[in-house]
């Protein structure tokens, strides 16, 4: 285990301690928001690698989250019985991809099994990212931001306008996602503790995979593209291809977050696809320090937890926008650069130098 992987131990210990604390203090309801914050953070760590390490901005990641969430919600709730005789539905059924169940009133219901729906949703997000990435990743800086923003708006308006995705109401009644016998991703309060651990395990494994990526050949290629695209190209890195791969990877993370969150919440609404959500994710990555996976994770969990607890009230979006402005102005290196061992020391040193040279001058 390398030094960088050693960080996982205290984090895992903290996850367990928090759970034990809530159990001891009879405040297990906090675990619900911590579980949701972990799922949102799954999107954020993926976006962190795209933005911080590969240097590509995306203002459309809520769109990928929504593709994951809405597709798994739609497929696991919308009845396929009217098409039961169609060859597609029959072959899906033969493959075991479908669930035969009953709705609230006891009527027959034929839906896609959660695992198959999740696979389809994540695959769809990956394909959309691929199709979108080929043209838009040729753009740089704010042009890329604009193009991905456009994509986010399209997804938002599509889910809002389509009956299949429930228009303004979204989709509710999404079943739980069975992981193992007796373990289901759902909002059922009996499984609250188990779900908390599932979410955090998924998040930490996802971070571990990204950590491995960053410290390896493809990860260095991505960071090289951020550092100097011309030099990376001259060193044989196929810049367009690598940008596309990391874009798809971050979209898959976002879609997986959407899938798990939707099953946990039992539904999804259009606000999850909103542009303000995409801006929020970018703000959190920026606060965490861009190229700082643990920073992004910490701020992702903290800020989402506060937001979900309703601490920011109806000023929720305004708070995140304010955070974005403040961080750009006062700590472009992220909030952790303000820690005593970060930039303050450098700043003090440079102030001291300036002071000294000022004294020396006549």
């Amino acid at each position: 285990m390398s030094a960088k992987e050693f960080v996982f131990l205290p984090v895992m210990a903290a996850v367990v301690l928090v759970q034990l604390f809530t159990a001891a203090s009879d405040s297990a309801y906090y675990l619900t928001q911590l579980t949701m914050a972990a799922y949102y953070s799954l999107l954020i760590v993926g976006l962190c690698v795209l933005m911080g390490y590969a240097g590509q901005i995306s203002l459309g990641h809520a769109g990928f989250f929504a593709i994951g969430g809405y597709l798994s919600a739609g497929l696991t709730t919308r009845d396929l019985l009217p098409w039961a005789e169609s060859p597609v539905v029959r072959s899906l059924d033969a493959l075991g991809c479908l669930n035969h169940g009953q709705d609230l009133y006891g009527a027959q219901l034929l839906t896609v099994a959660p695992w198959a729906a999740a696979a389809a949703a994540v695959l769809a997000a990956a394909l959309v990212a691929l199709a979108l990435g080929v043209p838009v990743l040729k753009l740089k800086g704010h042009y890329l931001a604009m193009a991905t923003l456009g994509f986010g708006i399209i997804v938002y308006r599509l889910v809002l306008a389509s009956e299949y995705f429930g228009e303004a109401d979204g989709i509710s009644g999404v079943p739980g996602f069975p992981l193992l016998p007796g373990l289901t991703v759902s909002g059922d309060s009996a499984g609250r503790v188990a779900n908390y651990y599932v979410a955090w395990m998924v998040l930490l494994v996802a971070v571990l995979l990204l950590r491995h990526l960053i410290d390896s050949r493809p990860g260095r290629a991505l960071r090289a593209i951020h550092g100097s695209p011309e030099a990376a190209d001259a060193m044989g890195v196929d810049v367009a291809r690598y940008k596309l791969k990391v874009f798809v990877l971050s979209a898959v993370y976002a879609a997986l977050a959407g899938v798990l969150m939707t099953h946990y919440n039992g539904g999804i609404g259009p606000s999850e696809a909103g542009v303000m959500k995409s801006v929020r994710w970018v703000a959190i990555v920026a606060v965490g320090g861009m190229a700082h996976l643990w920073g992004a994770l910490t701020m992702g969990v903290l800020l989402n937890f506060l937001s979900l607890r309703g601490v920011f009230g109806s000023y929720d979006d305004a708070v995140f926008a304010l955070i974005l402005i403040a961080i750009m102005l006062y700590a472009p290196g992220g909030i952790f650069s303000l820690l005593p061992d970060g930039r303050w020391r450098e700043r003090l040193a440079s102030l001291a130098r300036r002071g000294k040279s000022g004294e020396a001058a006549p």
Binding site: L210, H212, A221, G227, S228, A231, A234, V237
Partner: protein, 251 residues
């Protein structure tokens, strides 16, 4: 034996003929310099060879194969490495990591292998690290391995850039004004380094303003003026070439 052949190469930018019917060859194992006043088309010529520009006319043959019109990364994969006039370090990465990027085309691990850290990935990663450390050592800057590359002084950054280029195991090394921004001591040290790189069997083509360096290390010199080749010969002859003297010193 010819490694690189430039044939009737031309590059036009709108109304400007930046490179005009230039041709020369580069023998394997040689050091060749391209010189000329500002605006003579040296850097354009370089960018044409490195794939950053594609020519309007003519051909570039590397080991007998045409390489003009290829992307820079494809040119790199053929075994041509380059350095940049204004050093391009990968910021946010240590000196060692910068050199490790140079191993990119000689290694193969992809996204999945890296994320799952497969045994093959671990093996490759170890080999990349060892080779890169060797190269930093070869450049005499092994002690800077873990320093962020952009924090190094200019001379050391130049050395990191050279190590990065060597990590690619190039057959041909393109050096774009390697002495730019270096003082006379650093330039002399650079001259020795370039000699040692040639001793590794690597062919070198350089663009350079620093005449002492060029005259010192080059086997042959090509002189460009206004996009055209006006002379090509050994340094002693170039120094006394009437047209070259005219171009550099005026009539």
């Amino acid at each position: 034996m010819t490694l690189l052949a430039i044939e009737h190469l031309g590059k036009r930018f709108g109304g400007l003929q930046a490179v005009d019917d230039v041709g020369f060859t580069l023998a394997r194992g040689a050091i060749k310099a391209v010189i000329g006043p500002n605006g003579a088309g040296k850097t354009t010529l370089f960018n044409l060879i490195a794939g950053m520009l594609s020519p309007s006319s003519g051909a570039i043959l590397f080991q007998g194969q045409p390489i003009h019109g290829l992307q820079p990364c494809q040119v790199a994969r053929r075994g041509i490495a380059r350095t940049f006039q204004n050093i391009k370090m990968f910021h946010g990465m240590s000196a060692l990591e910068n050199v490790m990027v140079g191993r990119h085309v000689r290694t193969a691990v992809g996204f999945f292998g890296a994320m799952l850290r497969t045994p093959a990935c671990r093996r490759e990663e170890r080999a990349i690290r060892e080779r890169s450390l060797e190269l930093l050592d070869f450049m005499g800057i092994a002690d800077c391995a873990d320093t962020p590359a952009v924090n190094l002084d200019f001379g050391r950054q130049r050395a990191v850039e050279l190590a990065r280029a060597l990590a690619l195991e190039p057959t041909l090394l393109l050096l774009d004004e390697p002495a730019a921004g270096l003082n006379i001591y650093e330039t002399a040290e650079l001259g020795r380094l370039i000699g040692r790189i040639r001793d590794l069997g690597i062919t070198i083509l350089l663009v350079e303003h620093d005449m002492s360096l060029v005259m010192d290390i080059s086997d042959e010199i090509v002189v460009l003026s206004f996009g055209r080749k006006i002379a090509e010969d050994v340094p002693e002859v170039i120094q006394r070439h009437p047209e070259v003297v005219k171009v550099y010193l005026g009539e």
